[in-house]
Structure formats: C-alpha cells, structure tokens
C-alpha cells in the first residue's frame, strides 16, 4: 500500500512533538517532509533564556538532532521558508523553489515577536526575542555595549533582562503596566518579584510608554524616549511585548485565519487536509504562547492524523514558571479572579513567600506563587481537573505533602502515629501493617497499598492518611498521584468514560475486540478491567453482547454467595418481601433435604439458606422453584417494602404492590454495583427507603422518589429527586434514573458515589427536567431487560460451573 504524504511547515517544538506522537501511533503511515526556516533542527525554544544567561549552550537545548530525522525517514529542509501552498494540487513551495506534495499538510509556523510601531524600530540594535538568532545577537551586543533596555516586563522580557544583566549589561526593563508580568501575577507577588530582581541589579521603569527610539550616526540605537519626555541611554533594545501568530502563509492560501489559523477541536483547519498546531493557531478564539498547550495540541493532532479519531483538544489552562535562577515564581489559571471567585492568600513578607489561590464554586481556578512554588504542578493539575477542593480548602495552601493530615480529621500526623493505631476502620488495618508492607514488599503507590493491605480500599476516608504514611515511610521516593483522570486500570491509559464511549461509538461487542481496539497493554486484561469491560459491553449492547462468565467473580458465576467455608448461600426472590405458605414449605423442605445448617431472614425481607454445597446448587434451585434473588450480583438486589395502605392504619399508598411491581419490572438487571430499592407507604418510612439507592415514599398526593442512599460502610441519606403522582411515573422515573446510573457510573460505583461525581443536578437534568430524555432512558432500560433470563432456571445453568472437580 502506498504511504500517504505528510508535509509539515515549521520545525519548532509543537510541530515536531506532533510528529513524535504520530510516529508512536502509526510509524509507517506517512512519508514525512519537514520545512524549517531556521538553520537548526528542532530545539527547545523555552531554554533560550538559560542560554542567554550563560547557563547552557545551544547544543544543550537541541531536542531532535539531525539523526533523529534520518532515523525516522523524515525529509528535512532546513533554511527553507515555505511561501506558497497550492491547495487544489496539494503542493507547497519554498522560497528557493523546493516543492513537496502532500496528502496531509501540517502548519506549525509558530509566531513572531511583536515589534512596537514606534519611530526608530528599524534601527540597528533593536530586536525581538524569539530564536537562536536573536539570542546570539544579544550575546554579541553584551560583549560590546553597556546599556540594554527591555521593553515589556512579561515572562520573556524579564528572562532576557536577567540574561543580559548576567552578561554584564546595565539593564532597564520598561513596562507599560503598573506591575510586572501582569498577565501572570497579581500586584503583591509582582512587587516581591521586582524587589528580588532589583536585588540582582535590574532596573525598572513601570507605567512608561515608549515614544521613540533614538539612533546615533551609525544608525544604531542610542536612547529610548518616553511619552513623558524622559530619555534613557540604550545600546540594545529588546522588544518583548508579545507575539503575533505567523499566519501569512495560511492566509495567502485562503485558509481562514483570525488572529491565528483557525482550527477545530481536532486541530483541523478549514481545509480538511490541512492541520495546524502551535503558536500559529487560534483555537476557540485563543492563541497559546506556552509550551504545554502546544504539546496537548500535538497529541490530539497526531491522533487524528493517525486516523484514530477519538481525541479532542478542548483548550488548556496554562501555567507559567519564570526561568530566572534563584527566583521561584509560578502562576496558573485565572489568578486575578472576579466577583464570583474567592481568594486564599498566604503572604510571608519577611520570608519572601507569597501564595494566592483563586477558587470558584469550591474549585481551584487560579494560583500565583512566589518564593515557594513546589506545589505549583499540583495546583495546576487540580485547576485542570476541576477537582472539588471544599474538603481540603483549609489545607490547600500548605501544599500536597501537608494533606495527609486531613485523613482522619487532622488529629494525628502519620509520622507520629503509633504503629498499633488503626488507619483503615473498614478493613481493620493499623499503621504498623501498612508500614511493614511498604517496606517489605516495596510498595510505592496508594493502589499498591490498597492491593496489599486493603487499607483505604473500601470507603476511602483514610486515603489521605495512607498517602501520608506512604510519604513518611518512603520519604523522597514517594510521588503521589497527581491526576483524578485515572486510567481504568494498569492495562490501559484510558479512563472508564473513554472506554465506555469507545464501546458505544465503535460498537465494540466483545472483550477481546474492545481490548484490541483500545490498545490494551496486557493480553487478557486484569481482574479489575475484565468485569468492568464485561459490564460496559452488556450495558451498551444488551442483546448483541454475549456475557463472558470468565470475566465475572465467583458469586456471579455460581449465582450464589460464596461463604468463608467455601459453601454457598442461596436467596430466592420474594417480590416485595411477600411470601406464601407454599413457598415457605418448599424452603423448609429444601433446608431439610440438603441439610442446610442455617436459615436466616435477611435485612432485605427474604430468606437466606446458608451452607449449600456448590454441586447441590442446581438441585436446590430446582426444588425451590423460585427465581434467583440476585443476592450475589452487581445487580438489582431486593425491593424492600412496608405493608402500606393495605393493612397499615397509617399507610397512604399501596407500597407493597408498588415494590412488587418495581421488582418485577427491573428483575435480572445488571448494574455497576449492587442496587437496592425500597418503597414505603407513608412518610413514617418503615421500609427505610431513605438509605437505599432508590427510595420511594408514598405521600398523600403521590410518591416521592429519593436516590443515592446507602446504608453500608458509610451511611448516606438518599437525596430527594422528584415527586410524582402515579404508579407509572414511579416506574418511569425509577427506571430512568437506574438506566442513567447504569450508563454513566463507573463499574463498582454505588449510586451515591456516582451522584457525588456527577452531581444531583446532572441527574435531575437528565431524569426530571428532560422528559424526552427520561422516556428514552426508561425505554433503553426496558429494552435491555427484555428477555432477561433467570439464571437459576434449569435451561440457563452452565453445567460446567457446577460439576464436581475431578483431579
């Protein structure tokens, strides 16, 4: 098959990163040609400042040397500026006439420094600060001249100023605004920055507007004059007042530009075969000048060039770090805030530390730090994740290493805890056990701690404490997880949501197919992704996908609950908790016949038979002649009811019948985790509906529906969802909510966790406010349940599962 041709214009960091990503995905798809206007291979432009400061050499900052291009069979044209694109014929032309045909064209033309339109701007010694050429010009000038003036007190300007000062020049920074780096810093931190830069010998003229640049007889700049009439000497003027995307080439080819080459979320321009990345693009109206967003763009662009088609670039929150040795400065996001935001500020004037966090709706939206920036990336991650920080708010400003203390109400710090103190109440794990496991088994991550000790593996309220124990045991070797967008498991980089989306959109119908399509890194997955995948597949394609018993745990394979002695317990369904003398007689007979040692009434109003041997299960089921209660599955468990208006003097609704109807309607339903429902006939709520995943409570005028309750490890009271009038509405709303949960929850999330993640408002929008969507959801649920089979029915039993083992 003939390879496609990819031509890239521009040889900078964004473009080459895109190629690297592309080569990782599809090394053989394209013949690649690269045009670079500079004479160098791809170098790290952001490291020009250390070069200027004399801390690094040019060769230190080369990212991809010529060998790299050769190794990947990339045709590299250096020193060749592309000047024309013939879109109909898909050919690009360089200044020197070099031409290249393309199937896909990638524009990565970058940006140019903005030069102030003032008289004298063309004088010798007036430059921007963009590339190696500019850097060399500055180094050269520093050797010959005395006075340097930097126009622009932004990131680049200050780095240039610092470099030139280090090279012995007398440097003045001229800035139009009242404080430095106004796009990255607030006034307080900028003042601290200015003070430390002044200590390094830099001078500052703030709120000065440049009138003109004055030249000498040799045509070289000699002074700078301001609007206020003042003038200072200048042998070198560096303009660092911003960048302009290089769009001339694209515009000349008729590609839509608006302060940058306009691209969509796939980095595609208005010409479908032309993509653009880097500082030259305008994405959702924003042009980015920092490297992190450009790399994000590159990753997305590569994905589409590789015809994967699933990545989206949705814009970036940017962060800034000033690369001036000895000065720690960091800012990210919206740090100035507005009337909707709140600030948390730590200002240690004497200690030279300033930190400000900006929050909106309990989420971090911006951060400025000066003097102590070690938590910058952590904040940045939280800004991007939109993590709710309400619980850690008071601790936030003191950094990540401080957080462990919050695990148990901040009462004890892990380091001082005695070994015998219990850390995880759910699983009864004490500190000594965790420390021992960390040391002896060489654990490094929270997941490993969970796996080996079970600490923090259940309700998770001790997670902070576990992390702190890890940190205090491992010391510097501990690197906490920084992102909430966690991959589903170790077998993939994709999140639950991405996997489900792919299953739905790509109509993946089996576990092997899904793993192959989604580039699973392990051949057969693991114990945590296989059951999840199995559920996601069944949920998305209920009638197309064949259940994979090998991806289920023993309970769901055996359709009974395994007990500590290896026997099983059997719970037949009793719809709504209603039974009959006949059923009871059968249960009694079965108990006698199979020598069932314990018969117990469950909390869910059914009868549990304990101690059934595995090989007896099919016979027990047959003799009971009752359907499976699904008491073992990630599925609908019981629908608990009170006796309701039929018998009760207080009952206002027939809760028993409603419960029976719900249980019948949703029987045999698989869910991300177990699902419990209850129906009470009056607000006295004898069925305890308020701690169920779905609770229905009868009131005079109808029914109230509550969702997200949980009586388990951590009791959660269900939240009010809606009040409805009729029996059918109860079924519809309940079903719609359940289906939403089935479709959106991560495997093993109970409803409470799911609602916590997406918010009750989200649920209300989909189930209550959008009637059409509700009906769709309910329809999808009913469709999924159509023809669902009773696993205890003789015809559905997999005899291999229950055959006695022969060795």
């Amino acid at each position: 098959m003939k390879k496609m041709k990819l031509v890239m214009v521009g040889n900078g960091m964004a473009g080459v990163r895109t190629l690297e990503e592309l080569l990782k995905l599809v090394p053989e798809m394209y013949d690649i040609t690269v045009f670079g206007a500079e004479p160098y291979p791809n170098y790290n432009r952001i490291m020009l400042s250390p070069v200027l400061a004399g801390e690094q050499q040019i060769q230190d900052i080369i990212l991809n040397d010529l060998d790299w291009y050769a190794q990947h069979n990339i045709t590299l044209h250096l020193n060749k500026k592309v000047v024309r694109i013939n879109r109909p014929r898909k050919i690009v032309y360089a200044e020197d006439g070099t031409m290249a045909e393309y199937d896909r064209l990638l524009l990565a033309t970058g940006s140019s420094p903005f030069i102030l339109p003032v008289p004298g701007k063309e004088l010798e010694g007036v430059i921007g600060y963009r590339d190696i050429h500019d850097t060399n010009a500055m180094i050269d000038a520093a050797g010959k001249y005395k006075h340097a003036v930097i126009i622009g007190g932004g990131l680049l300007g200050l780095e240039a100023a610092n470099g030139l000062a280090l090279r012995g020049m007398d440097v003045t920074v001229v800035h139009l605004m009242p404080w430095l780096m106004e796009r990255q810093l607030d006034q307080d931190s900028a003042r601290m920055l200015q003070a430390s830069l002044e200590n390094k010998g830099l001078k500052f003229l703030l709120e000065r507007q440049t009138q003109e640049l004055v030249g000498n007889e040799q045509g070289r700049v000699s002074a700078i004059r301001f609007k206020d009439g003042n003038e200072i000497p200048a042998d070198l003027v560096v303009m660092a007042v911003g960048i302009r995307p290089n769009t001339a080439l694209a515009e000349s080819a008729g590609i839509h530009c608006n302060r940058g080459i306009v691209v969509n979320d796939t980095m595609q321009t208005y010409d479908p075969s032309i993509y653009a990345v880097g500082e030259c693009v305008s994405h959702r109206g924003t042009a980015y000048g920092l490297v992190a967003p450009l790399f994000d763009m590159g990753k997305v662009c590569a994905n589409h060039l590789a015809r994967m088609g699933i990545a989206r670039y949705q814009g970036s929150v940017t962060s800034t770090k000033l690369k001036v040795t000895g000065i720690d400065l960091f800012s990210a996001g919206d740090f100035t805030g507005n009337e909707k935001t709140e600030d948390i500020v730590l200002h240690d004037a004497a200690g030279g530390v300033y930190k400000k966090l900006v929050l909106q709706d309990d989420k971090l939206v911006g951060a400025v730090m000066y003097g102590d920036t070690k938590d910058g990336s952590w904040y940045f991650q939280m800004i991007r994740d939109g993590k709710n920080v309400a619980e850690i708010r008071d601790h936030l400003l003191f950094g990540q290493s401080h957080l462990g203390n919050t695990g148990h109400q901040g009462q004890s710090s892990a380091a001082t805890m005695p070994d015998e103190m219990e850390v995880c109440g759910c699983n009864g794990v004490c500190k000594g056990t965790i420390v021992k496991a960390i040391k002896e088994q060489g654990l490094f991550t929270l997941d490993e701690v969970r796996k080996h000790t079970k600490a923090s593996a259940s309700c998770g309220s001790c997670t902070g404490l576990c992390e702190q124990i890890l940190a205090s045991t491992l010391g510097g070797a501990y690197a906490p997880q920084t992102s909430t967008a966690k991959p589903m498991c170790g077998c993939t980089e994709l999140t639950h949501e991405e996997v489900r989306k792919a299953i739905r959109e790509e109509k993946l119908l089996s576990i092997p197919q899904a793993m192959q399509f989604l580039n699973w890194t392990t051949p057969n997955g693991c114990a945590s992704c296989r059951p999840a995948l199995n559920y996601y597949l069944i949920c998305a394609w209920p009638h197309e996908v064949k259940d994979d018993p090998q991806s289920r745990f023993i309970n769901e394979r055996a359709h009974a609950n395994i007990q500590k002695d290896g026997t099983f317990s059997v719970v037949p369904r009793m719809y709504g908790g209603i039974t009959s003398p006949d059923q009871l007689r059968r249960i009694a007979d079965v108990a006698d016949k199979y020598h069932i040692p314990t018969v117990k009434v469950t909390g869910g109003q059914r009868i549990d038979l304990f101690g059934v041997k595995k090989e007896d299960l099919p016979k027990v089921w047959a003799d009971l002649a009752m359907p499976s209660g699904f008491a073992y599955g990630k599925s609908l468990r019981t629908v608990k009811t009170c006796v309701g208006s039929e018998w009760c003097r207080f009952g206002v609704q027939n809760s028993t019948q409603m419960g029976i109807d719900i249980e019948l309607a949703f029987d045999r339903m698989w869910t991300p985790h177990k699902l419990k429902i209850a129906v009470s006939g009056c607000p006295r709520n004898c069925a305890e509906a308020s701690i169920k995943d779905v609770g229905v409570i009868g009131v005079d005028s109808g029914w109230e529906i509550y969702v997200g309750g949980n009586g388990g490890i951590k009791t959660e009271v269900a939240q009010f969802l809606v009040k409805v009038k009729t029996h059918d509405e109860v079924l519809e709303y309940t079903g719609a909510f359940t289906q939403l949960y089935r479709e959106e929850a991560r495997y093993l999330d109970r409803t409470v966790h799911y609602i916590e993640r997406v918010g009750l408002d989200h649920v209300k929008r989909h189930v209550v406010q959008d009637a059409a969507n509700r009906k769709d959801l309910y329809a999808r649920l009913l469709y999924a349940l159509e023809g669902a089979r009773d696993p205890w029915a003789k015809e559905n039993i997999n005899p291999r599962e229950f055959a006695a083992l022969t060795i």
């Binding site: 709140e342 600030d343 200002h347 004037a349 004497a350 708010r393 003191f398 401080h402 203390n405």
Partner: protein, 902 residues
C-alpha cells in the same frame, strides 16, 4: 542574677493559704529575686508548694496599683491624686454619710489576707471610732462555719490540734478538702507520715475523686451536701458497735442523749442512700475513725454550706464521742483557706465578734473592749455579714463601702447581685495592691496598698501559730501599708466627726501590743508573746501566757472546755439538704473549688506564666456520660446557667465526679475570661448561724453553645502589659479566656469563641496590643469566605507571636514553640497551616504537670509506658522532686499507665 549583687535574706511567711509556711525572701535590696522555704519554720520546714515557690515571680510593678486614684463621677476614669486628696475626699464622704444616716450607713469589707495588725485597726476603726459593727471580711466566705462549729461544740473558736498530729495519727479523716491542691504542704506531711506509718489510714469524704481522694485508703464519694448524714451515720455505727469512749463522754461532754435520739435514724443503710455510697464504707470509716488516734482535716466542703455549722459540729461530735481530741494525733483541725483568717478571728474582725474571741451579744465583753479601746461603748447591734452587707448596700442602707485587700466582685456568690450593689453604692473605696481585680473596676477611690514582701506584722496559721511577716524591699510607687492607710484615715475622720482619735500608732508593734492586751484572760491569751520573742524564738502557737516561753501545741488535753460548764457540748446535728435542689430546668449539681496552681481570684497567681501550664483556661468538668447525653465533645463550648446567672466555658470530660455533677474552678473572673466567673452561678443562701454562703453548691444547667468563630492570639514579651491591655476587651466576646503560658519565656494567650466573626477593628486592636501589626514583618494567611485570617511574627528564626482566627487547630503546638523560644525556621512553611499536631514528627508536650521542673503529662506517661514506676520517673525526669505539689498526680498517672499495660 549577676553574682555581684549581694543577696539579702528576709524571713517571712507565704501569703497564700492558711498552712502558713515560712519563707525566706531573697532580694537585692530593691527587688525580690527569689524565694525558698524557711527550714526552721514549724509549718513547712523548708518546703514550698508550686504557688509558694513562684512567689518572687509575682513581685512585679506591672501588676500593682501604685498611686491613689479618684473619680468624682461614676463611669468616668479615675484620675491620679495625692494621698491627701484621696483620703480627705473619702473622710469627707464617710463623715457626711455618718452624720446624715448614722454609723450603720457605712461598711467595711476586709480580708483574711490582711495581717493581724491591719485587721485590728480596721476593726477598731469601725467598732471603736465610727461605732458600727458593719465590718466583715472574706473570712465569712471561708471559715465562719468553722468558727461557729467550734464555738457550738467546744465553746471557743480554737482549733485544738496542730500539724504535728499528722505524724501521730493512725487515721486521717479529710472531709470537704482537696488538701493536695489547696494545702499542698500539709499533704506532703501526710505523705511522709504514711511512708513512716504504713498502717495509717487515710479517709477522704468528697463528692469528687480529687487527687487527695484518689490517694485515700477509703474514698467516701458522698453526694453534694450530705456530710451531716454521713457523720451522723458514723456516730450511729459507733454507738451501735460500742466504739465510743463512754468514759470520756461521761467526764467531759454533755448533750449526747439528745443527739443519740437523732442519730438513731441515721442507719448506714439509710444514709448510704442519702450519700450515695456503700453502707459498709460508712461502717469501715466509723471503725477506723473510732480506733484512732484520728485527725480530721476539713475545709470549704464543710464550711461553704447553708449547713456549714452543722457539718463542722457533726464532725466534732465524732471526735467527742470517741475521745479523739486533745491528745497527740487526735483533733478536729480545720484548714484555713487564707493566710490570716485566724488572725482576723483573734482580733474579732467579723460583724458578730469582738476582739479577743469576745462576743458582741455579751454586754460584759462589750464593756471590756470599750474599756480597752478607751471609747464610751461599742455598738451592740450585730453588723452586717458579707452577703447581708452587700444586700444592704444594694438596698441603699449602707451608702459608703470600704473594701480592703479582697475582691468581692469575683469572690462573692451571686455576682450579679454584687454588681448591682456596687453600682448602687454612693461611694466605693478600694484599698488594694493589685490594679486589675474585678472590684477595682468599681472603685471610686483606689488606695494603693503594700503587699507581700513589702509589709510587716504578724499572721496566725491554721494551727494557731503566729509568725512574723517582714518586709524585704522598699514600698513601690506611693503605696502605703494597710494599717497606715487606716490610721491616716481615722485621724481625718475623727476630726470631721468631732471624736477623739483612738487610732494613733507609729508602727505595727504598737498595734500588736494593744491586740495582745485584748487577749489576756481569754482562751487565746498571748500575754507572753512579743515581737522580740518571735524574733528570738521563732513562730509561736497560742495561747502563750505571760511568763511562758512557748505556745501550746494542743488544746483541751485536760478535758476542760471554755464553756460555761467546762464540758464540751454535743451538737444535735440534723441533716438538711443543700439550699438549692436540682430540678428539670437546672438538673446538675455544680461544685466549685480550687486548682493546684491558682489561688483565689488570680490577682497574684494570674501574673505568673507557669502557673497556667497545669490548667490553662476555665473548664467545666463534666462526666463523660452527661456529655454524651447532651451531645458534647471534649472542648465544646457550653452555656452553664443557674437561676442567678450564666457563664460560657469549654467543657472537659472528667471521671472525678459522678454523673449529674459538674465542677468549675473558682479562680477565673472577668479579668481572665468573658463573664463573671463561677460565682455568676453560685447561690448566696447562707448558714443561719455562721452566715457563710453556700458557694460550694448550686443547681445548674449545661447547654451546648454554638460559637463557631474561634480565635487564639499569643505573643511573647511584655506579657503582663499586653495582658492588662487585653483585659478590657474580654467582655466583647461570647467566650474569651486570657492567660499566660511558659516556663521561662512568658507569653500571653487569648482564646476566643464567638457566635459570628468579630469586627475587623477588634482584630486590628488585638494585633496592635500584641505587636502583630507591622505588615512588613508579618506572615499572613487569609481566606475571607471561610472567615479565616491568621498571622504570625517571626524574628531571627524564633516565633514571637501568632493570631489565628476562624481556624485554630495549631494553637497548642504553636504555643509551645513560642514558649520554647527555639529556632523554628524549618517550620516556617507550616506555621499557619491547620495542623493540630506539629509537623515533621515533633512531639507535642501537652499539659505541664510538674511546674518547678517543667515536665509535661505526655512525658510522664511516656516514661510510665516505658515501664518506669514513680521513683524511676522521678529519677529520670526530676518531676515532683522540688515542691512536690504534683506528686499525687504523678502517682496517679503512673498507676493509670500501669493499669493499662497490666
């Protein structure tokens, strides 16, 4: 202290409790530089407790009233005036009130902390010169039930035993006294005696399991106010079992028959129910008591009660019934709370007494005193006792009130009534050494008095032992001696009243000699005592008759009592419950009492940082079950209310009391907390005989209080000055507690809880007072929406001050690192973090148990956990090896820990 400065030693006494320890004051001639116990003093033989051993730290001018001050309009600030100006004004007002409304329209409320000579002249001024018996003292709140109890049974106000009896006793019966806290040196002697005599039985009757009670062989944890029932039941058992001394009863007592009939009903089974203790414990106590020799030590638990006299008498009944009196190791010995309550009683400085234990209602006694004083007569009409006096002031019957050396605006019961009274008075004169007492705030005239270390005279301690008090340093500012102020005033008043001035004294010895003359022929005859003898032979017990060279250790050894018949009288004591019973609205019994390291209203101890390290703020102790029922957690804010007032404090779980009872220390007043202190709640109902109010019991309710806004502000350096400036702010908060902390480096600590965020200008004011207002030096944290604002001041790596508002989790360890004064630069990033424990594994010290050597509870528990016993812990940490005040607690901590490991 540089070595060149010559140290001068001055022998004196401790000015705190009634144990009356001898103390050697070290000074450089102008400043007191140290104290040590006087090894030759018979009360303590060189020992001092945690309070006494820090006395030199209280000799600070910052705490003192140094100049006379006067205001002519209520509500305005007093202005500094000359002594002449102040005394003339007071004399003018007193004279005009006396002329217009009679002598009973003025009153004097003085103090058991005055020296005998001061006391004498006050008494003579009122009763002799002015002609009113309206002179009462804070001893009314302290010892008057003991006085009445002694007089009712033994015939005179004379404690018959002595401290040496501790060494001879085989049974020590402590009732209503937390001796380990309130009289530590006596308790040291008990510990020594028990070491020497392992068979010595210690019985403690106290509703609380105090450190004293926890050391006992038998703790009778009786319900509040049921002492009489207990004592009667013990007598019942003694009579039933034939454990009484029938010969002694027959020979030396009268009145048993009637009492017998009364106690017949007090069977152990019945009383077990009244007292809430086991019947067999009553029998056991009676058995040990009867075997003897038995020394009873008792204090406010018996005295501060509407049944105080009965309680005292019922206990003395036991001594009479078993003949446990007048022999070595056998006596009822009341412990006095103040250094010179006894001296005050001797000079008759109470509204119903006359000089030399004479009685006001005895015409012969009145005539004797009038003759001694050279006045025509002394008034017969009894004067107003403490509670009555303030009620009379409130009613306008008493118009001019002179308060000396005491702080009724904090120490009286039902303080809201006292406040009304002080507001109603036409003139309030306060003669006081300390600037910041609650009462000084009400003074129209403030007369600066000298105090411990500056004044001289004599005091009498609990065992009738008279010691010389001597001055070590010159008088500060313009302060004058108390007796001098009275003499200066008397001269002016006599002139204005046209009376002969009978108060002309040049020195205390003249006063002492006149007082001596009034005792002659009385039970307390000290005809043989003189300053010279005290100088040459040291402290002496009374009586000491003319010609004798040594006082009498014990009284009544001959079975002769100062009654008309010469026999002791059994009092017919009947149990009556506390004045205020609990009910549904006020369902808890409030008990008040002392802490180990504070004394009275803290005007003196409140100026020493380390005295706050045992207990730092006013805490309501409550049983854990009572807390659970109210949904209270440790440290929660609660509102304690009684029928008379309310108080906001933090609650702390304690198993010292049984459920249904709460305990509040009496020390904190409005200078150290928001609110008036424990006595805002207490009951002014008083004993009909002794007129002593029931400060020990009130019915209260405890409700959880939601004061979500919290602040803790701390600053080292100039702690006393800053504290004085913070004091006026306390009333602005729903709850505030102000105190000091630290062993060497002292810091002031302000804790606040309030219903809502306080206005910013209050914070600005506090920051300014604490020197936390220089923005260039401050470390600042703020989260406006959470109402959190925190700031810290660091200099040269040391943390000097912190103000935490909205969130105060780090308060305790920050306090400790400020006090340590160590370099904490490494902690800088964490200083304002919401950490309840210090970062990086430093150990938090927690409450300090041993004050002298600065050893904390945590450190002791750690060593106990390591397996060390008490002596091992002492060897390692040195705790409890100096003053010993912490020994009972140390033992308890060591045992508790052993209990855990066992």
């Amino acid at each position: 202290m540089s070595k060149e400065t010559p140290t001068k030693d001055t022998r004196s006494t401790c000015c705190y409790c009634g144990v009356g320890c001898g103390i050697i004051i070290e000074s450089d001639g102008t400043r007191i530089t140290g104290v040590r116990g006087d090894p030759d003093h018979p009360a303590n033989f060189g020992r001092l407790c945690s309070k006494g051993s820090t006395l030199h730290l209280t000799a600070r001018d910052e705490m003192r009233a140094l100049y006379p001050e006067l205001r002519t309009v209520r509500g305005e600030e007093r202005q500094r005036v000359s002594w002449d100006g102040a005394l003339d004004a007071v004399a003018e007002k007193f004279a005009s009130v006396i002329r217009e409304h009679g002598p009973d329209a003025v009153g004097f409320y003085v103090s058991g902390q005055l020296l005998t000579e001061d006391y004498y002249v006050f008494n003579k001024l009122a009763k002799g010169l002015i002609g009113t018996n309206n002179v009462d003292t804070n001893s009314r709140l302290c010892m008057s039930s003991a006085v009445a109890g002694y007089k009712a049974t033994l015939g005179a106000d004379a404690p018959p035993g002595c401290y040496e009896d501790i060494d001879f006793a085989k049974c020590i019966f402590i009732a209503g006294s937390n001796t380990a806290y309130a009289h530590p040196i006596v308790f040291r002697r008990i510990e020594d005696a028990r070491k020497k005599n392992p068979d010595l039985k210690l019985i403690v009757a106290d509703p609380r399991c105090t450190d004293t009670a926890s050391a006992a062989d038998l703790h009778l944890a009786i319900l509040p106010g049921t002492d009489v029932a207990l004592f009667n039941a013990m007598l019942h058992v003694m009579l039933r079992e034939g454990w009484t001394d029938t010969d002694y009863i027959a020979a030396h007592t009268e009145g048993l028959a009637q009492l017998k009939a009364t106690v017949r009903d007090y069977t152990p089974q019945h009383v077990a129910e009244i007292c809430g203790i086991a019947a067999e414990d009553i029998v056991q106590a009676a058995c040990w008591f009867a075997q003897g020799p038995t020394l009873s030590l008792y204090c406010q638990g018996l005295n501060q009660s509407t049944q105080g006299t009965q309680k005292n008498a019922a206990l003395i009944n036991l001594h009479l019934a078993t003949g446990q009196i007048g022999k070595p190791g056998a006596a009822p010995l009341s412990l006095t709370g103040q250094p010179n309550a006894m001296g005050g009683r001797e000079v008759g400085g109470l509204a119903n007494l006359l000089s030399g234990h004479r009685d006001l209602d005895n015409p012969a006694h009145r005539a004797e005193v009038a003759a001694l004083w050279g006045v025509p007569d002394v008034p017969a009409q009894p004067g107003k006792t403490a509670v009555e006096m303030f009620e009379a002031v409130r009613r306008g019957e008493i118009r001019a009130l002179w308060i000396a050396c005491t702080n009724p605006a904090q120490s009286m019961p039902d303080l809201n009534m006292i406040k009304e009274a002080l507001d109603a008075a036409e003139l309030v004169v306060v003669q006081e050494a300390f600037r910041n007492t609650d009462t000084v705030a009400y003074a129209d005239v403030l007369l600066p008095a000298t105090t411990w270390g500056e004044k001289e005279g004599t005091v009498t301690n609990s065992e009738r032992c008279i010691s010389r008090v001597r001055s070590a340093v010159p008088v500060p500012g313009e302060a004058r001696h108390d007796w001098q102020i009275v003499v200066d005033f008397a001269q002016r008043l006599a002139l204005r009243l046209g009376k002969r001035n009978v108060l002309n004294y040049a020195n205390t010895e003249e006063i002492f000699n006149e007082h001596r003359a009034t005792t002659q022929g009385r039970d307390l005859d000290i005809g043989g005592l003189s300053y010279a003898l005290l100088e040459s032979a040291g402290p002496q017990q009374w009586p000491l008759l003319q010609g004798e060279m040594q006082g009498r250790k014990r009284l009544y050894g001959d079975g002769m009592f100062p009654t008309s018949s010469g026999k002791a009288r059994f009092a017919n004591t009947v149990y009556i419950p506390v004045a205020e019973d609990t009910d549904a609205r006020y369902s808890l019994h409030l008990n008040t009492g002392r802490l180990r390291d504070q004394w009275h209203g803290m005007s003196r101890t409140g100026g020493v940082g380390r005295l706050f390290s045992h207990v730092e703020e006013p805490l309501l102790s409550m049983h854990g079950n009572d807390m659970k029922r109210r949904g209270l957690d440790e440290g929660d804010m609660v509102k304690v209310s009684s029928r008379r007032g309310q108080l906001n404090v933090r609650v702390s779980a304690s198993d010292e009391m049984r459920a249904g009872q709460v305990f509040l220390p009496m020390h904190w007043g409005s200078q150290f907390m928001s609110g008036l202190g424990a006595n805002a709640l207490t009951n002014s109902a008083f004993d009909p005989q002794s007129k002593q109010p029931e400060l020990k019991h009130a019915a209260v309710q405890v409700e959880k209080l939601n004061l979500p806004w919290e602040m803790v502000a701390m600053r080292s350096g100039d702690a006393l000055k800053r504290m004085a400036r913070l004091q006026p702010l306390l009333a602005n908060f729903d709850f505030a507690a102000l105190g000091l902390y630290g062993h060497d480096e002292e810091l002031v600590v302000l804790r606040v809880a309030h219903a809502a965020a306080v206005p910013d200008d209050t914070l600005v004011q506090i920051d300014a007072i604490l020197g936390l207002d220089d923005e260039k030096k401050m470390m600042n944290y703020r989260d406006a929406r959470r109402g959190i604002s925190k700031r810290a001041l660091m200099e040269d790596g040391r943390l000097l001050g912190v103000r935490l508002t909205g969130e105060t989790a780090a308060r305790d360890w920050l306090k400790e690192i400020i006090a340590q004064g160590a370099d904490v630069q490494a902690l800088r990033p964490w200083l304002l973090a919401p950490l309840s424990a210090p970062p990086a594994g430093q150990v938090q010290r927690g409450r300090i148990v041993c004050n002298c050597l600065d050893v904390s509870e945590q450190e002791i528990l750690q060593e106990a956990k390591n397996g060390l016993d008490v002596s091992g812990i002492q060897a390692k940490l040195k705790c409890g090896t100096k003053c010993g005040s912490c020994l009972p607690e140390l033992k308890r901590l060591a045992t508790v820990q052993q209990g855990v490991t066992a």
